[in-house]
């Protein structure tokens, strides 16, 4: 009786450990799955990529031509935010209030957009200041691949891999989050597949499994 009890306890313990390892923040070293750091600017991919349907490569234009997809320069933000300075809601409220108070609409700039302006060296209305120099926004990099891995966006985009395949459903993320574990095994899951979009012949698959596909 006691023996069986011990055995059951041990089994529960082992299974428990496995469950805990799999479902907790306890991860293998280097695994940053679910990493969702706070960014200097509360930029919402849900709003931009989801609601506004800005194509990924509008901002991350490097993806199809370079190794890095690239974080857009602040000047790229300004392409739109020269004109858009606050959320639609806030603007509507102000509009209503102005109408109610029977006055001109006051210029509105949301706190987050002020950060863009100040990075550019502009004032809160988005007008250049004479003596102020800009300073790049220091974003926190979310998707990190170790340095001994050569990852290039270019061939992946060429092969027709969808951004969301690796980056998750960014269009629904308020703050960007690493949805996949980016482990080598995870990469290989895809590199091993003979799926049609890659038009892969067997030897092509073998090619994608060469060490030097990623490590050099």
């Amino acid at each position: 009786m006691q023996k069986q009890f011990k055995l059951i306890t041990a089994l529960i313990f082992v299974f428990g450990l496995i469950i805990v390892i799999n479902n907790s923040t306890f991860r293998m070293p280097g695994n940053q799955q679910n990493y969702e750091p706070i960014q200097p600017i509360d930029f919402s991919h849900r709003l931009h990529a989801g609601e506004m349907e800005v194509p990924c490569q509008y901002c991350h234009y490097g993806a199809s031509q370079s190794r890095h997809a690239g974080i857009p320069a602040t000047s790229v933000c300004m392409n739109c935010h020269k004109y858009v300075s606050a959320t639609r809601n806030d603007l509507r409220l102000e509009e209503e209030q102005a109408a109610a108070e029977d006055r001109e609409m006051r210029p509105l700039t949301s706190l987050e957009i002020i950060k863009i302006y100040s990075a550019m060296g502009y004032d809160t209305q988005g007008n250049p200041l004479k003596d102020k120099k800009g300073k790049s926004v220091e974003w926190v990099k979310v998707h990190n691949v170790p340095d001994f891995v050569f990852f290039s966006h270019k061939p992946h985009i060429t092969a027709g891999v969808d951004c969301a395949d690796c980056h998750g459903d960014v269009a629904s993320m308020e703050r960007i989050k690493q949805t996949e574990n980016l482990s080598m095994g995870w990469c290989l899951d895809c590199h091993r597949k003979d799926h049609e979009s890659l038009e892969a012949a067997p030897e092509r698959t073998q090619l994608l499994l060469d060490c030097a596909t990623c490590h050099y």
Partner: protein
């Protein structure tokens, strides 16, 4: 009514022992305060070990560059030491397993310490493949285990992967063999223990051994099976170690005779080391009555035989190099004998070919001091054998542009000393804290047979 067996064979144990005195003699060592000789030995060994720990820590923190290796000679002291220690580790299992299978009863009083020596030597040996790595903290990558890399396994075609399996299997099986053999003796110690702590420790270690004959009955079967498994294992281990070289492409390494050559060499060097140790141990621990001159003589005879095989191997290598017509191979052997490392080669030949010849003389065989000195010569010779095989083959291989010399660094020498320190420290602790003679087995071969012996 004298036992008629006695008249045919000399007793294996001297001094007219009975069961009680055997227990008293062996367990008594553990109860007494250690002798001064033991302390001297232990302190020297522990200092050497400390030096080794410092050297290895420094090397791991700074890089393998602290060894004298270069891009041409990628292995030298490290693998020399590895093969040397694995070789040393062969005598123990050979004595306990193969001699057991051949029913050589004289093994009983030396097998425990020989096995312990095996384990310690294999521990020393096992360290080198780890510390010789550029990134020893990644050593676990040598094991095939499921991982998130795809999974990425190991290369089962690599002799180094074979080594991992061979050495670890050998260490595990030897340790199990040794421990299983020791359980009854640990129970004896437990039952004689006077202090509570000792009682508890040995109570735990002896796994509740009660001397039940039903257990003894199965135990004997298992002991036989383990001996049966260990015997081919011991041969396989050094065969696989020799594959490290034999399967390579380097002239002087790429040799089919390596497996028997290495196994014989291992037994040769292992017996030499057993002799070295036992001559010290019987003196230091006053065990002359158990480890008799006959034991020593028997071992010197094994040395003569294995020394002969080693000599034959050297000759075969040269013959095959000449007979093959392969210029690179021929060059390597000429270079061994006459090249820049000729001094190492001739030390090897001198020690390994000439030394055993002295053992043809009974006068020398029975002179403990002579045997001790000669055994040390063999140890040196066998270390140099590995050094010669590894370094001379590498330093001048195919392309003359890459030819280079090798000179050990202080760190390497300290690591070698450290490995001896580790070995002797463990051995010193062993002879102090564990029954160094298999009490049960010695009892079973005592000439004394109860009421005939006259105690009653």
């Amino acid at each position: 009514m004298a036992n008629h067996v006695e008249s045919l064979r000399k007793p294996l144990v001297h001094g007219n022992k009975n069961l009680k005195t055997v227990t008293d003699d062996v367990v008594g060592i553990m109860d007494k305060k250690p002798t001064g000789l033991w302390w001297i030995g232990f302190i020297i060994a522990a200092s050497a070990l400390t030096l080794g720990i410092v050297a290895v820590s420094y090397q791991i923190m700074t890089g393998i560059g602290t060894w004298g290796l270069n891009k041409t000679v990628g292995w030298a002291f490290d693998i020399t030491n590895f093969v040397f220690w694995v070789g040393i580790g062969h005598a123990g299992t050979l004595i306990s397993a193969i001699l057991f299978l051949f029913r050589q009863k004289w093994r009983t009083s030396i097998n425990r310490s020989a096995e312990a020596m095996t384990i310690f030597a294999v521990i020393c040996a096992g360290l080198f493949p780890i510390i010789h790595m550029g990134r020893p903290w990644m050593a676990y990558w040598m094991l095939p285990y499921p991982n998130t890399r795809g999974p990425l396994w190991v290369n089962f075609r690599s002799p180094l992967a074979w080594d991992v399996f061979a050495i670890s299997t050998y260490l595990i099986i030897s340790a199990v063999f040794w421990y299983i053999g020791m359980i009854p003796d640990l129970a004896t110690v437990r039952d004689r223990a006077k202090t509570k702590v000792k009682k508890w420790i040995f109570g735990f270690l002896s796994f509740g051994w009660s001397g039940s004959f039903k257990t003894w009955h199965r135990y004997e079967t298992v002991y036989g099976l383990l001996a049966g498994l260990a015997a081919p294992l011991v041969v396989s281990v050094h065969t696989i170690v020799s594959f490290d070289f034999a399967t390579s492409a380097i002239p002087g390494w790429h040799t089919t005779t390596f497996p028997p050559y290495f196994v014989a060499g291992a037994v040769f060097s292992g017996f030499a080391m057993v002799l070295t140790l036992l001559i010290i141990a019987r003196k230091a621990m006053r065990l002359e009555e158990y480890i008799t001159v006959k034991h020593i003589e028997n071992m010197t005879k094994v040395i003569i035989v294995t020394g002969g095989i080693v000599t034959l191997s050297y000759a075969t290598e040269f013959f095959m190099a000449w007979y093959s017509g392969n210029g690179y191979e021929q060059f390597v052997f000429l270079n061994r004998a006459m090249g820049p490392f000729a001094w190492a080669y001739w030390i090897m030949v001198g020690c390994n070919l000439l030394t055993p010849q002295f053992f043809w003389f009974k006068k020398i065989r029975t002179n403990m001091i002579m045997v001790f000195i000669l055994s040390i010569f063999i140890n040196i010779g066998m270390w140099f054998e590995r050094f010669v095989i590894i370094v001379t083959s590498l330093h001048r291989d195919f392309l003359p542009s890459a030819w280079a010399m090798y000179k050990p660094s202080y760190v390497e020498i300290a690591t070698l000393i450290g490995s001896f320190g580790l070995f002797f420290t463990l051995f010193m602790l062993f002879i102090r804290y564990l029954p160094i003679i298999s009490i049960g087995e010695v009892k079973s071969v005592l000439q004394f047979k109860g009421r005939h012996g006259g105690e009653k």
